[in-house]
Point group: C2
Chain length 200, copies 2
């Protein structure tokens, strides 16, 4: 198995953390969607991170699809799926926080000043705020489940990529939850920075 | 169960078609993310379509999360999940085609001429083209599975929303696949337009 993509993407990181937690062996290729377009295209022409190259050579995209597929091969990974509506709710909100944070990041990172939309940014920032508040009200002790891994990876991305424009201090419970999650070995083995996953 | 969102969203539609195919009863509320923001916010403050309101009052978002949750309650829906890497690949590509088509649609629908990025549009259009070509090479007879429903809903959205800027005729196999899918009763009961799902 090859996991293609940088760990500064919360989608790549949630897959890496889950695979490490479930002790599914994989090779990590930290190739950038922006700085290594040719190398990425060669492996996964859709230019989507994460991409998973299976042992049979299939290239899978979409973090939830990748985790579902690997769940059919690893009981430990399948056991990390949500159980009950509350856990599914948390996972959906966490994925939405990732999406909104990436949109805000892209709005300023990929567009010139004359290509930005203030009404779009405001709409997305409001959704992000609602999502962060929902996670803040919802989280407890972090567990190595898909929902909690996604929640912690989402908050880690918010803090790292757009922490200067989001009042992350106002989500005290989510901050404590994420800080604790980051102490867990699978999180420490996949730090949200450029570079490869480290051994446990 | 309440499904919130308009069927002109391919994400809403894939959920509606799957629920109808699995004969899971639900109430459809065709509320728009843009024209009915207050009504939508009251039901689902994240402003994400689809949103699913469960009988216990949980609000779930993200189409794949919603379908996974309902799969824990409906064996017929669980049986529609991908089996084997090829089906997971198709589902991931179909979701990517939806994402890229929505991004191109939003770029022109939600932004003024002075807020658009040509380099972003080109990048996304290239990804969309790769995704459509991959689906075109992959599809056969449409089945009522999550992967095939997503593929047909993705192509339906491309045709309907951005068909004027995508050469849909060049994907002949995908066109035939989608045309056949659209004749199936669950697709006919959830047409990709404003309005509610119809009875089978």
């Amino acid at each position: 198995l090859q996991l293609i993509g940088m760990l500064d993407s919360p989608y790549v990181r949630r897959v890496a953390v889950a695979l490490i937690a479930a002790r599914v062996a994989f090779e990590h290729k930290p190739i950038s969607l922006f700085r290594h377009i040719d190398a990425f295209t060669k492996l996964s022409p859709l230019l989507k991170a994460p991409s998973l190259v299976t042992d049979e050579g299939f290239v899978l995209v979409e973090s939830s699809v990748i985790l579902d597929y690997l769940g059919t091969r690893s009981p430990a990974l399948a056991a990390m799926r949500p159980e009950g509506a509350a856990a599914f709710r948390r996972l959906g909100v966490a994925l939405t926080v990732m999406e909104k944070a990436v949109q805000i990041h892209y709005e300023r990172a990929l567009r010139g000043p004359g290509e930005r939309s203030e009404s779009w940014r405001e709409r997305v920032a409001r959704q992000l705020d609602v999502g962060l508040a929902a996670l803040d009200a919802d989280v407890g002790e972090p567990a190595l489940t898909h929902a909690d891994i996604a929640a912690a990876c989402a908050f880690g991305f918010v803090t790292g990529a757009i922490g200067d424009v989001v009042d992350t201090a106002s989500y005290a419970r989510l901050r404590a939850f994420s800080a604790e999650a980051e102490t867990l070995p699978p999180f420490r083995a996949a730090p949200p920075i450029d570079g490869v996953t480290a051994p446990l």
